[in-house]
Subunit: 356 residues, 2 copies
């Protein structure tokens, strides 16, 4: 890469925040909905819809016209949706869930990325909200983070959970442990989506999750086959399970902690027991220009959620499992064809067997 | 543009803030300087330099490796500068001045873009700093904004001011008014860079600039040929000048106010007097993919500096001057060849004559 090309490429970085918020703001101001409803509206008319001066509407729409998301008629000056016209309501909703989560959970937080990386904790949560702790704790206390987060997670879980359970094998009658299973949703999904006969599922998480988890089991009518064990994964993993699920958990930690978790799981298991892991992955070829995982998720985990952790290559996850005495029998990437065109990452399932 | 292409393009928007801060943070952490000094450093070694865990350094450097800014040796795991290796120190400094200004003045501020557009004032300054007013006022009170701003302005002014004066004609003996001339730098530059014999230059700005402006004139030894008039441009422009300079001022306002300013200037002038305007411009073809002015400057003026204003096309600036009875005799864009490869905009000079 020449020095000139390098600096020219910097422009894409410099306009990153402004492009992002210009697009988000056109949605927030109601401009896109108004144009979907009434093509041909002028800046003056859109200003009334948005509660803003026509001059500002014109300034923001320039970028969307440049991109071909919106078109402007040269004679009338009126605007209409262009590329955005054909996008289904469902996909727009999914994309907006992403955009609004990124705005709420990352935009201002990234300002503190350097301090966060040095501290190993999310400095932004303290600076912006006076909150001491990680994003997952903050979600419980701060609706301005929880609501956009939940909106996105709903769209993600609706796809990923069924896909995860399609791709793993849980034999009938298994005794299943859902590691870091939070308040029991994963346990309920295991029964609902897997449905092998005679399953029993135990949610393992910090003791303060117990009451809500048991209430969820009762509300779902699964209290006879689901239970809760309180504890800290770093102090030891409950023994006696045939299958352990580890979903959305490992990328929250650096390598040394991932290995501690996997070692704990491995030690808790009899030979032949199964582990199924769901993780986000970087492409094996980091330079793949069509893959955006690196562009978003490194600074997301390190800067905005935990102050550490992050995705890894599939081959790295595999090697870490094997270091812990878990032989990987299957490693499947989600198919990009199943994901919306704006998806920034694909998840993977790794299945492994405890070996001697 | 197909719906699929539109949503796929959204990914560039979604990763905008994270890409931006990942790059900035690698500079802030000292990683780039360390690699320039000592190629081949590992994540562990860079972690010591940065005061951060090697895991976090690895996560952040993935993006720079993806881009080809940095390279990683597959065997040793060590890093070295790749595209960044050949960039001169001067250009790196200029690019960093841009990056740090964008971080300080826009990144968190853009979170409030929608509220700012509706209010017509920079809501972020109130939210982040408790400051009521626009960016230019805030710069005077907040060193965390002023310092990165001044660092960038130094690099911009060093190029733009000489270029502006090269491109305008100020006849010997002219009586020059520098409109919105702040604390006199433009007046001093007029004498220094133009140097026609017998020039007199008057800075016109709000009365509270007077003391500092006169002090600057004395410090530069130009108090005999420079003076200050206090006033508000919207209340009227001082009469009796042969040449009026309007630099870095018009893009702070919406069309109606730009026309009020230009009308005021026009009314103050005798037929034949000259006006020279320096403004940032959008390309005539908004869709030009190599031009980044739209991507950055719309939300910059509207969202981060004034809550209004913005660049315009050269043809628009020209038409606004002519609406005010100022016949444009020359309109020159700065040459992109004279600007660094990361430049987001080029300025233009418009020269006009007061006509009957």
């Amino acid at each position: 890469m020449t020095p000139e090309a390098t600096l020219a490429r910097f422009r894409e970085y410099m306009v990153g925040p402004s492009r992002f918020m210009t697009l988000v703001s056109c949605f927030e101001l109601g401009i896109i909905d108004a144009l979907r409803e009434t093509p041909g509206l002028t800046a003056a008319e859109l200003g009334e819809v948005a509660g803003a001066k026509p001059d500002a509407v014109e300034q923001l729409l320039l970028l969307l016209v440049k991109e071909g998301f919106v078109a402007q008629d040269e004679t009338s000056g009126g605007y209409r949706l262009d590329g955005l016209a054909g996008v289904s309501e469902k996909l727009i909703d999914q994309a907006l869930a992403d955009l609004y989560m990124i705005k709420a959970v990352t935009l201002r937080q990234l300002f503190y990325l350097t301090e966060t990386v040095r501290a190993g904790e999310v400095v932004a949560l303290k600076e912006l909200y006076g909150y001491d702790g990680d994003l997952y704790g903050a979600l419980g206390e701060l609706p301005e983070l929880r609501e956009p987060w939940a909106r996105l997670m709903d769209t993600v879980t609706a796809h990923v959970d069924p896909w995860f359970f399609e791709n793993i094998d849980i034999p009938a009658g298994s005794n299943v442990l859902d590691l870091a299973g939070n308040t029991g949703l994963g346990a309920v999904d295991t029964l609902k989506l897997k449905g092998s006969p005679g399953l029993r599922v135990t949610t393992f998480d910090l003791p303060d999750k117990e009451a809500e988890c048991l209430a969820n089991f009762r509300a779902q009518g699964v209290e006879d086959v689901c239970s809760f064990i309180g504890g800290d994964v770093f102090d030891g993993v409950p023994e006696g399970f045939d299958v352990v699920l580890i979903k959305h958990f490992l990328p929250m930690f650096d390598k040394s902690d991932v290995l501690r978790i996997l070692d704990g799981v491995s030690k808790s298991l009899q030979i032949g027991a199964q582990v199924h892991v769901l993780v986000p992955v970087f492409p094996e070829d980091i330079k793949d220009p069509d893959n955006y995982t690196v562009d978003f998720y490194s600074s997301f985990f390190v800067g905005c959620t935990m102050g550490k952790g992050g995705p890894q290559k599939l081959s790295t996850w595999q090697s870490w499992l094997e270091e812990s005495g878990l032989k990987v029998t299957k490693a499947v990437m989600d198919d990009w064809e199943n994901l919306p065109p704006h998806a920034l990452t694909a998840e993977a399932v790794l299945s492994a067997t405890k070996v001697a």
